[in-house]
């Protein structure tokens, strides 16, 4: 209900003019009008990933932020890139702040969906998003398959002779194409710009073995935990969930793909001030350290490092000892229009 009210309160002038044509709604927005002032200063709507992410964010970011500023934080699920675009388009805002990965943020910024932000710490600003934390797409597998060897690299992921069994990858070409090139023998430092045709040719080889192209984090944990697939490219946080649930699984940091999550503010949101305050807070050293330590992410603000306990580091993709084995996504040097590649990927998938 609160969300509904805020909808009306947040309607932009042009939208409101349009709606006044219909008496019923105009009445509703007039009723909600007194709450505009309150909503602007005292409440904030944040797009949530749910699960362990939400737990860590509530404890380390949302609650301390409310304590420090008096601004109440409400969460909205699921995370939706399309909703970010739809609300800027319609002027009706369901959330003010969200996080985007490296692939989506370039597209979102190009589409003018993001409010310009200032650099909060050196190197912290990318495409109008403030760097928060790094996460990895890594290779994980079931240990109950009776394989004689242990998979080491994406080449092994492609090797269905030595490691027979079902595979799964994310339905997200910007992350999957580099993995195919690594499997084909390209060195991590030579990946970008991507050789798109070569990547697709390599994907052809594994296609019939990929039983699931997962689209949600929870889904990826479930199919690994329940043994629906035997080898998977999975976000590291979601992998540890399966491991902690006692599933017979293992993983490697080797050739794990680092992606970054950025806090962004929805363009022209009426809660701008509170939204920017939150982004600053969430990426400042101590709150960020608490958040990444609990959720096993890697902090992107180097100032956070001193607050991160050593015990949290083995599960962080950016910790010394792990990070050397990983490689980073480079969306600005992608090698083609990511949208076109994604369309081609969709067609490839259906063919």
């Amino acid at each position: 209900m609160t969300i509904k009210k805020t909808h009306n309160a947040l309607i932009r002038p042009n939208r409101r003019l349009f709606l006044q044509g219909t008496a019923a709604l105009a009445g509703a927005s007039a009723l909600a009008a007194p709450s505009i002032g309150r909503a602007q200063s005292k409440e904030l709507y944040i797009n949530s990933w749910g699960g362990p992410w939400l737990e860590a964010a509530t404890e380390n970011l949302f609650d301390p932020f409310t304590e420090a500023t008096g601004i109440k934080v409400n969460t909205v699920s699921p995370v939706s890139f399309a909703k970010l675009a739809a609300q800027v388009r319609s002027g009706v805002y369901e959330f003010d702040v969200t996080t985007l990965g490296g692939g989506d943020i370039v597209a979102a910024n190009n589409a003018g969906l993001l409010e310009p932000l200032e650099e909060p710490y050196p190197g912290g600003l990318f495409q109008n998003g403030v760097g928060s934390h790094a996460f990895a797409t890594m290779m994980a597998w079931r240990t109950d398959k009776g394989w004689e060897e242990t998979p080491q690299s994406w080449a092994d992921f492609w090797d269905v002779e030595r490691f027979p069994g079902g595979r799964s990858l994310q339905r997200y070409p910007a992350r999957v194409l580099p993995l195919a090139l690594l499997a084909d023998g390209v060195a991590p430092e030579d990946l970008y710009p991507l050789d798109i045709d070569r990547a697709f040719a390599k994907l052809d080889e594994i296609k019939e073995h990929v039983r699931v192209w997962w689209t949600g984090g929870a889904q990826s944990t479930q199919i690994l935990r329940d043994g629906e697939v035997d080898m998977i490219g999975i976000w590291h946080g979601r992998y540890f969930e399966a491991e902690d649930a006692g599933a017979p699984v293992a993983f490697t940091w080797n050739q794990a793909e680092l992606d970054s999550a950025y806090w962004v503010v929805a363009k022209e949101t009426p809660n701008m001030e509170a939204a920017k305050m939150f982004v600053d807070f969430a990426t400042s050293a101590e709150p960020l350290a608490g958040f990444v330590a609990q959720a096993n992410y890697g902090a992107m603000n180097p100032a956070a490092d001193e607050f991160i306990p050593d015990s949290a580091k083995p599960r962080m993709p950016t910790a010394p000892g792990n990070v050397e084995m990983t490689f980073e996504q480079d969306m600005l040097n992608f090698g083609a229009d990511p949208q076109e590649v994604a369309m081609r990927f969709d067609e490839w998938l259906a063919s």
């Binding site: 219909t22 890139f81 399309a82 675009a85 597209a107 994604a342 067609e347 998938l349 063919s351």
Partner: protein, 282 residues
């Protein structure tokens, strides 16, 4: 009482409209207005013109997905009919109390969330699920993959949609006058011929109603095929969602929605000419 006859008549004709007003206003505001917006988006995004429709109607991916959508809907409808018809017949022959009991069992699945029912199939058909266990116990060492195939998504959709079919057929069967069957028998129609020439034609409206409902609902299925289906057999709703969620291609997604809607309306139109839409809920 001082009310003239004509005024009464006027009140009578006005009254139904007044009763309908809330629903009409609701539908206009929350269905028609957004629908018009979708139509506008389909011809203006990213630039004005019919390029989106051209793409949807000529692109091989879209043709494939649309064909698969209609093929799946047809298959699911047929399966629902095969499962539903005998069950509805059983219900119409047993006592009222027993029929209510069966109906209760069938509608019970309606009380469970859609997503839960979909996940339940994942558990049943999963590698560590009871079906695979049963197959292994029966001596099939390497059971074929059941999950994430056309089989699993079809099973789940039939499970979710069969009640629509059963209830429609049952309503019609229940109304069949038993004396019609008796007189047919007295004329020498038994077994196959009784079914073909008397019973089947009498139940045809129920079959048609149930089939149209199941078919149309199935066309728009999203979660079940995405979570249970094979990646190669996408359905239109999933692809539309993907266009918008991943590519922000609001125009293309809108055009696909409109094409799906128009084709569905055409099917309903054909049905209406043949059977009359008003019978759908009667």
């Amino acid at each position: 009482m001082g009310l003239s006859l004509s005024a009464l008549a006027e009140r009578k004709t006005l009254w139904p409209w007044l009763l309908l007003a809330p629903l009409t206003i609701y539908l206009a505001l929350f269905f028609l207005v957004p629908l018009v917006e979708v139509v506008i988006m389909s011809v203006t995004e990213p630039r004005p013109g019919l390029a989106n429709y051209e793409k949807v109607l000529t692109g091989s991916l879209y043709r494939k997905v649309f064909l698969n959508t209609f093929g799946t809907a047809l298959l699911v409808t047929l399966c629902c009919l095969l499962v539903g018809y005998p069950l509805a017949y059983l219900m119409s022959t047993v006592s009222k109390r027993a029929a209510m009991g069966i109906l209760l069992l069938i509608t019970m699945s309606f009380w469970t969330s859609f997503l839960v029912r979909t996940y339940a199939w994942m558990v049943l058909l999963g590698n560590n699920g009871p079906v695979v266990w049963l197959m292994q116990t029966l001596g099939i060492a390497e059971p074929p993959p059941l999950l994430f195939t056309r089989l699993s998504s079809t099973l789940a959709m039939v499970h979710i949609l069969a009640p629509y079919m059963i209830m429609n057929i049952y309503t019609v069967m229940q109304k069949i006058d038993p004396s019609l069957i008796r007189s047919a028998e007295s004329m020498g129609a038994y077994g196959k011929s009784l079914f073909r020439h008397v019973y089947l034609p009498l139940t045809a409206p129920g079959i048609a109603n149930g089939s149209v409902l199941v078919f149309v609902i199935c066309l728009g299925f999203y979660v079940t095929p995405v979570l249970l289906g094979s990646p190669r057999e996408q359905m239109a709703a999933g692809l539309i969602g993907n266009q918008i969620e991943q590519f922000l291609a609001f125009g293309l997604g809108s055009a696909m929605s409109i094409v799906l809607l128009v084709v569905t309306l055409v099917i309903l139109g054909i049905y209406h000419r043949r059977f009359g839409l008003d019978k759908l809920y009667g």
